[in-house]
């Protein structure tokens, strides 16, 4: 029997979250698969985008159609915006729909990399935080920028591991580590995660949560992958709380050499590395 350990709750925007996994809702093969993936993942926060209504379609393709009874927390994003002003407009529209006041600020500065525009992101964060939004900026993994975002009123900072949808994993764990070290608000690693291993790595670094979409939705089996991510994120968090060993250059035996049946000259050292 596996004992279960509670990891610390994540406090964000006045909420207490048990799950540190935020799931995006785009690119799933069908709404039914997405529903199952939600079940398998145990997520409490889902993201979605704001778009013009398809006036040629009578069918209600709104992502929220079957989700409202789940008691999830909704995190709309401002994707499609390329200026702070556009992001603010999208945030207001999303809030008007009555789904709360959380907003993921996503302001793309390049159609190729979809990397966030740091200047506009900072502006939007300041404006939206002042308007009472729980501002969650998606940002590049720049420790100084993340500090500035925090000062501008971000409720959490969301540095990308690598560009959106690339699945390249943590390109700069050093920077992420610095951001986490410095931050007084939660750090949610968003974008570029390729597999549960990347998620676990980020969590072990001390990230507060992971936001992923493509690696789940586009997996061969999104439902199983959703579960795998949930487990990896929990494992990473547990490991972070448990405290990993420091890295060493040379081996150290798991058993004390004292009392060894044989005596070799090399074994007489302390076993410690340099």
């Amino acid at each position: 029997m596996l004992a279960s350990y509670d990891t610390a709750v994540l406090r964000l925007g006045g909420r207490e979250l048990r799950s540190r996994f935020f799931l995006g809702t785009g690119r799933f093969p069908s709404p039914a698969v997405m529903q199952q993936a939600l079940d398998a993942s145990g997520v409490e926060v889902i993201t979605f985008a704001v778009r013009r209504v398809d006036l040629d379609s009578y069918e209600d393709d709104s992502i929220l159609q079957h989700l409202e009874e789940r008691g999830l927390h909704f995190l709309p994003n401002t994707s499609g915006a390329s200026t702070a002003e556009e992001a603010v407009r999208i945030a207001r529209l999303a809030r008007e729909a009555g789904l709360g006041n959380w907003i993921k600020i996503e302001i793309s500065g390049s159609p190729v990399t979809l990397l966030p525009d740091p200047i506009e992101t900072l502006k939007a964060t300041e404006l939206l935080a002042k308007e009472g939004f729980v501002a969650l900026p998606y940002t590049s993994d720049d420790p100084i920028l993340c500090k500035r975002l925090e000062e501008a009123g971000a409720a959490a900072v969301m540095p990308g591991a690598s560009p959106i949808g690339t699945g390249l994993g943590l390109l700069n764990p050093y920077n992420l580590g610095l951001i986490i070290e410095e931050a007084k608000v939660p750090v949610i690693v968003d974008a570029g995660i390729g597999s549960p291993k990347d998620a676990a790595e980020a969590m072990e670094l001390g990230a507060s949560a992971i936001l992923a979409n493509t690696p789940v939705a586009k997996a061969k089996d999104p439902v199983r992958m959703a579960r795998a991510f949930a487990m990896a994120i929990e494992a990473g968090r547990l490991a972070y709380e448990a405290g990993r060993i420091p890295k060493k250059r040379y081996a150290s035996a798991s058993s004390d050499p004292a009392g060894s049946l044989f005596r070799h000259p090399a074994m007489s050292s302390t076993g410690e590395g340099y």
């Binding site: 799933f28 979605f48 778009r51 013009r52 006036l55 209600d60 709104s62 929220l64 207001r92 979409n213």
Partner: protein, 284 residues
């Protein structure tokens, strides 16, 4: 039972058994009510009194079920006996005052008129509504010269009580009659003589509805989700309904300002406004 005031009627139907040989009168008339006809007249100028009474009783029961006013042509006594909502009389029938005396004040009196003079007189004499026609030559009233749409236009200008255009009106010429100023139509053979009277009624009502929408608001050109769009909607709520999007969770923005859903009905749509309708889609 009647949900709207009788005077709001748009489509007046009249019986004509000779137009549907082999089909039951009540069944055909029920189809017209299913199709949305909102006032019904029994006209039987050839049958014996007893069978007119029988038809009147059956149609009274039918129209009551549908909450539609029921009018009897000529036979004031039958109208009284079956508790019809009123009578319709021609120029050669009893005077309005006489019909009013027999019926009492709560009942409707309609009068057929063929020129403006007759119309004004009927209005003065206390008619509740008038028929204006025959607009086109008709087999229902052979031998009577058509008054053309010019009398419809005169009536629209001078008559304050409800008037209904009648005579030879079909789905092919209904738009011309509406353009001439009619807002209530009566068709006989085009409805009860049709294969599908309910469908014929719906088509007439659609034409009347479209005409009224255009009249109410002319057609407005707006910018909708970045594209030029023409609408006859008067307010935001009507626009969303007109677009067939009323069931979606939508947020609306007018000239860059969010309009909360509770305000849609009070938000007039003027020419040139910029409207964005947005919703949520999957995203990360």
């Amino acid at each position: 039972m009647t949900e709207k005031p009788w005077s709001d009627f748009e489509l007046y139907v009249i019986t004509a058994s000779s137009n549907h040989p082999g089909k039951d009168l009540v069944e055909v008339m029920e189809q017209t009510l299913i199709g949305g006809a909102d006032i019904l007249q029994l006209r039987n100028k050839t049958g014996p009194w007893e069978s007119v009474l029988q038809e009147a009783a059956a149609l009274r029961e039918l129209t009551r079920r549908y909450g539609v006013p029921f009018i009897v042509n000529d036979y004031v006594d039958i109208a009284i006996q079956v508790d019809a909502d009123g009578v319709h009389i021609g120029q050669d029938d009893m005077p309005i005052a006489e019909a009013r005396r027999l019926l009492g004040p709560g009942k409707l009196i309609g009068v057929s008129t063929h020129n403006l003079e007759q119309a004004l007189k009927a209005e003065r004499d206390g008619a509740d509504y008038i028929g204006v026609g025959p607009v086109y030559p008709t087999d229902t009233k052979p031998g009577r010269a058509a008054v053309t749409t010019s009398y419809v236009t005169e009536a629209a200008e001078h008559i304050r009580i409800p008037f209904v255009a009648i005579g030879g009106i079909t789905l092919d010429n209904a738009d011309l009659v509406l353009e001439a100023g009619a807002r209530r139509l009566c068709a006989v053979s085009a409805i009860v003589g049709s294969e599908d009277p309910a469908d014929a009624c719906r088509s007439f009502l659609e034409k009347i509805g479209r005409c009224k929408a255009i009249e109410r608001n002319a057609v407005t050109t707006i910018k909708l989700n970045g594209e030029k769009h023409q609408t006859s909607a008067g307010n935001l709520e009507e626009l969303v309904r007109e677009l067939g999007q009323g069931h979606k969770r939508i947020v609306a923005e007018l000239n860059g300002v969010i309009v909360s859903k509770g305000m849609w009905a009070d938000t007039a749509i003027q020419s040139g406004v910029d409207i964005e309708l947005i919703q949520f889609v999957g995203g990360g």
